[in-house]
């Protein structure tokens, strides 16, 4: 099982030539909540166009890592850049490149679907025909035409998840972050969401945060595994997850003999 060096300095121009997408680089990224270390000196380099699966048990630090990337949280230490822009000092540049579908649907129950999508588009600087076309496009792509006038509070969880994904696709962003996209959905809905993400692969960088190994196997080209805030494994999906009992990767007692720790300094 291989690991990728966090000190890999390859630029998106060389590695990602011919691919659309943003490059995400974290160096010794750390986040504490009081005494609790949620993200522990993570070194990671996500290449343009790559779909990276971020795996880990609940509380492993996946969502915190994503929130650091989006700029919603500030890091305690370390560096982070998205296409060279820091979420700390240049959040607007980062947000311009970002589409984000959070773990649970972040919707306004009172707003009809169309109004919500128009609001998100507007808040991303779209207006006029551009906004109208984008809303129609994502509504068609996520099959929301039937419910576009209904308040989101009246939608099923599956539809809410679709709306959440649809808003992330509105601007066709170079970096798409999806946090547990199929959580709580029935198998049919899960398949639908995976189809959408499958179609989006390669067109942009996708950071897929999940604890569903089959989802990671199906969508991710590489996976990174977090445990108690530490990056404990990173590499091509097949190599990291293999064919065995991959769940043991999430548990501390089994890990030390099986996978190689990332080589970044200070990660202990």
């Amino acid at each position: 099982m291989s690991s990728s060096s966090a000190s890999d300095t390859s630029s998106s121009e060389t590695v990602g030539a011919g691919l659309r997408g943003a490059r995400v680089t974290s160096t010794q990224l750390t986040r504490r909540f009081g005494k609790y270390l949620a993200v522990d000196h993570i070194d990671l380099d996500i290449q343009p166009g790559e779909t990276l699966g971020l795996l880990g048990a609940n509380g492993a630090g996946k969502t915190t890592f994503i929130r650091l990337v989006t700029g919603y949280l500030l890091p305690t230490s370390g560096e982070l850049s998205i296409d060279g822009f820091s979420p700390v000092s240049q959040p607007q540049e980062v947000h311009r490149r970002l589409g984000y579908a959070a773990e649970t649907s972040r919707v306004y129950p009172e707003l009809p679907v169309e109004s919500f999508l128009r609001f998100i588009g507007g808040s991303r600087g779209m207006r006029g025909h551009e906004l109208k076309d984008a809303v129609l496009r994502v509504m068609a792509r996520f099959e929301l035409e039937e419910v576009f006038r209904r308040p989101m509070g009246h939608l099923s969880k599956g539809y809410q998840q679709r709306v959440s994904l649809a808003q992330a696709f509105l601007t066709d962003p170079p970096l798409l972050i999806v946090d547990e996209p199929t959580s709580g959905l029935d198998p049919y809905q899960q398949a639908e969401v995976r189809d959408v993400l499958e179609q989006a692969k390669g067109e942009r960088t996708i950071l897929l945060c999940t604890h569903d190994l089959s989802e990671a196997r199906a969508l991710a080209t590489r996976v990174a595994i977090l445990r108690r805030g530490k990056l404990v494994a990173l590499g091509p999906t097949d190599e990291v997850l293999g064919d065995g009992d991959s769940l043991r990767l999430f548990h501390e007692e089994d890990i030390e003999d099986d996978i190689e720790e990332p080589s970044a300094e200070g990660s202990a």
């Binding site: 009081g34 005494k35 500030l74 890091p75 305690t76 230490s77 700390v88 009172e110 209904r150």
Partner: protein
């Protein structure tokens, strides 16, 4: 040792408990007007709970971590501090500038030119110290608010002139000594203290405050003689037909007034600054007319108010010596004038056109004067080349003259005299004459009632009569426009109107809003 979970629970619970206790503590104070035991205990408990909650929060505080976070927070706290500084500076700056806009219908917070003039003059008396104004108030007295604002406006305006006005407020129940000293009997009184003298104004307004301060100004008093004995109005009578209002106003403006019986004087006293004739109704004795003529020939100063329909012998003197012709058998009728109580419409002209003269300085179409009934005053001819005559008050172009005074006295509207078309009439005029190297001045008004107690506070009547006295007495510098008496809104709304409004706006509007709420709710349920 309690667990961290217990601390967290305590912190969460103490915050709302503290806030609720404070709400009820303060609420009790507002409801009862006193903090009391209930309020005090609640505030103490609330404060303690909040402090404890804050302490527990600090216990869990582990700092703001990285330099990046600290920098972001520092920047934000810096912005907050700058905002607070700017907010306080803006408020203080505006307090210093004292900009304000008076939206009252009677412009009650616009200081009159006379008040501004007084504020300008006060620094001349700086050796007397500041004018100390003390407002005696009771918290439940609503009238105090207006007075407080008026005093504050006076103080702010005086700051522009050197700050000679000091203002303080004393609660009625906490200033027994001062209440006794100023002999205050009720809330909303202002004690005025200046140069060792003091006075008290009950129910203060700009006008009576101004007069009270003016009376304290130490200045040489000019003597005015007011003729009596020929049917004139009683100068000190407080009846509606009396002239005590004019008397008080002239005293406040620095005059000493003396009544004198014209018949008993062979000549006008030498210390007379001017002579006032307030509507004589009987014929003057010939020696009285001779005394007046002699007085004017030596540069005397006369203000004559003539009532319509009264022939006193003065008319001939005024025409011959001063050039004014005021026929006693004519009365001015303005069909557009409003009716006064007990009079037919048309007899009481409202004057809104003035001649160009110091007496009418500042008066315009918006600053009207009201006359009860008037006779014309023509500037007929110049007695001596070089004399100057000035028309002061013009009636409206619709005015006509009538000789039917009997009809007017019976309450009817007199008809126009034959052959006299409607046109502007002059009902007040002034003249200036060079006599024996002295300057004589005469002002004649074709009405006396306008200066009586009944009408002197109406519109700008006080200003026109007092300014005329100032001009006649050669004290032009005192000419100004005085504060107007505030007539508060005291118009009723009829029960029918009130009920109609209650049904339409009071009930219909809430009903429509409720329907809107129901529609919104139904729409969201059925979407």
């Amino acid at each position: 040792m309690p667990s961290s979970h217990t601390f967290s629970y305590l912190r969460s619970a103490l915050l709302p408990i503290g806030l609720i206790a404070i709400i009820f503590g303060i609420g009790a104070r507002y409801a009862t007007g006193d903090l009391g035991v209930f309020g005090g205990i609640n505030l103490a408990i609330g404060g303690a709970a909040l402090l404890l909650s804050f302490g527990l929060a600090l216990r869990n505080f582990h700092g703001f971590g990285a330099s990046a976070a600290r920098a972001v927070l520092l920047r934000r706290v810096g912005v907050l501090l700058i905002t607070i500084f700017c907010a306080v500076s803006l408020e203080r700056g505006m307090a210093r500038l004292a900009w304000q806009w008076d939206w009252t219908i009677d412009q009650r917070f616009h200081l009159a030119p006379a008040t501004l003039k007084l504020l300008e003059e006060l620094p001349d008396y700086s050796y007397l110290g500041s004018v100390q104004l003390t407002l005696f108030s009771h918290p439940d007295d609503p009238r105090v608010r207006t007075t407080r604002l008026l005093l504050e406006t006076l103080k702010q305006k005086s700051l522009e002139e050197g700050g000679q006005i000091q203002v303080r407020e004393l609660m009625m129940d906490r200033a027994a000594e001062e209440i006794e000293r100023f002999e205050v009997t009720s809330s909303n009184s202002v004690g005025i203290e200046w140069g060792g003298y003091q006075t008290t104004v009950q129910r203060p307004n700009e006008g009576n405050l101004l007069e009270a301060i003016q009376l304290l100004i130490p200045r040489e008093r000019r003597v005015l003689y007011i003729a009596q004995g020929e049917g004139e109005g009683t100068p000190r009578s407080t009846e509606p037909s009396g002239y005590s209002g004019l008397w008080g106003a002239l005293e406040a403006e620095g005059y000493e007034l003396r009544g004198f019986a014209t018949a008993s004087f062979a000549e006008i006293p030498s210390d007379a600054r001017a002579v006032l004739l307030l509507g004589p109704r009987r014929n003057f004795e010939s020696h009285s007319l001779a005394a007046l003529e002699s007085y004017l020939a030596q540069g005397g100063r006369l203000l004559a108010l003539l009532e319509p329909g009264t022939e006193t012998g003065l008319e001939e003197l005024l025409l011959r010596v001063a050039g004014f012709h005021s026929p006693s058998d004519r009365i001015v009728i303005d069909p557009l004038a409003a009716a006064l109580e007990g009079q037919p419409k048309g007899l009481a002209p409202l004057i809104n056109a003035y001649g160009d003269h110091p007496i009418t300085a500042g008066l315009s179409a918006r600053t009207m004067t009201l006359f009860a009934s008037a006779r014309p005053v023509y500037a007929q001819r110049l007695p001596v080349q070089g004399d100057r005559l000035f028309p002061l008050l013009y009636t409206s172009p619709n005015t006509y003259l009538s000789e039917d005074l009997q009809r007017a006295r019976r309450g009817g509207l007199p008809e126009a005299s034959a052959g006299e078309p409607p046109e502007r009439q002059v009902i007040g005029a002034a003249g200036e004459y060079q006599r024996n190297e002295k300057r004589a001045r005469v002002v004649v008004f074709g009405d006396a009632d306008f200066a009586s107690n009944r009408f002197i506070r109406s519109l700008y009547n006080l200003d026109i009569i007092v300014n005329a006295v100032h001009w006649v007495a050669e004290r032009e510098v005192e000419i100004t426009l005085r504060p107007k008496r505030i007539n508060p809104y005291q118009e009723p709304l009829t029960p029918q109107d009130s009920l109609r409004l209650f049904y339409t706006v009071g009930l219909l509007l809430p009903e429509l809003l409720l329907v809107a709420a129901a529609i919104t709710w139904t729409k969201s349920r059925n979407a």
